[in-house]
Symmetry: C2
Subunit: 157 residues, 2 copies
């Protein structure tokens, strides 16, 4: 089910809540498996057999650009995440599954994670996103946009 505030947020931007779009959003939000486009496509097709893969791609991309979903890249392609709140990820190098972990200090979590969740952490990486000196407005402070991961294409994860 799509909450009213999501529906309103879409409409406020001139976006329609079509049947494919609603189901795509539903499917991504209903799983914590960080699905690929192909996975979403298979799931959506169970409810809407005539949907096209292109529609799934277009909607995932748009919903991520508008901040309704988070997206991340890995070696196999893009993955989407219905959980847009702050949280980190644990990727199992053996089975490839991606788990959510609560956002926390990297150093401490490295030791704490195993005890609490059964994860054995072998490595971790932190990626920062923002603006480099060359791209910041020269004069003064930049305005604190609470920017959704939307505008530019150079979005890393």
């Amino acid at each position: 089910m799509i909450p009213n505030k999501t529906i309103d947020a879409l409409r406020d931007r001139g976006l329609r809540l079509t049947r494919p779009r609603r189901i795509i959003l539903d499917v991504v939000r209903a799983t914590d498996a960080h699905p690929t486009a192909a996975f979403v496509y298979r799931r959506v097709r169970r409810r809407l057999p005539r949907v096209s893969l292109a529609t799934v791609y277009r909607n995932l991309q748009m919903l991520a650009a508008e901040g309704f979903l988070a997206e991340r890249a890995d070696a196999a392609g893009m993955r989407f995440d219905g959980n847009t709140g702050p949280h980190d990820h644990f990727t199992c190098l053996t089975c490839g599954r991606i788990y959510d972990v609560p956002a926390g200090a990297a150093g401490a979590a490295r030791r704490r994670l195993p005890a609490r969740t059964g994860f054995e952490v072998l490595d971790h990486r932190t990626e920062y996103y923002g603006r480099c000196g060359a791209c910041r407005p020269p004069g003064g402070r930049s305005f604190p946009t609470r920017q959704r991961r939307s505008n530019g294409k150079p979005q890393g994860l």
Copy 2:
């Protein structure tokens, strides 16, 4: 120039130090731009015009699998990093450049980075890698196997 210890490490694994291989390694290690395969190909071709893109891909993949290079995925494809030591990255959302930043506590760095480097950090993510409870040997310790590229097919996603 390739240090002797790298040459020996290669040979110890039965790998040859061919001309294309040496130049590819050289090129990646000579830049901090986190190059794509295409970038490496262009650079290598300046020194070895008949090199093929396939050779560049095969070598980058192999050198990463053997631990001579680090690799990371982003929306545009794979990127390689000659710096295999522990460090984090800052990606500029405006120009797309990826900068190295010293490994450090995520929380503190978020405030400290701007002052020291001119980076304005808008967001950050930490990824943990390891083994989940389901994949750990039930009885005891596991030993870290070096990860090959996209070996574990992620559970039908």
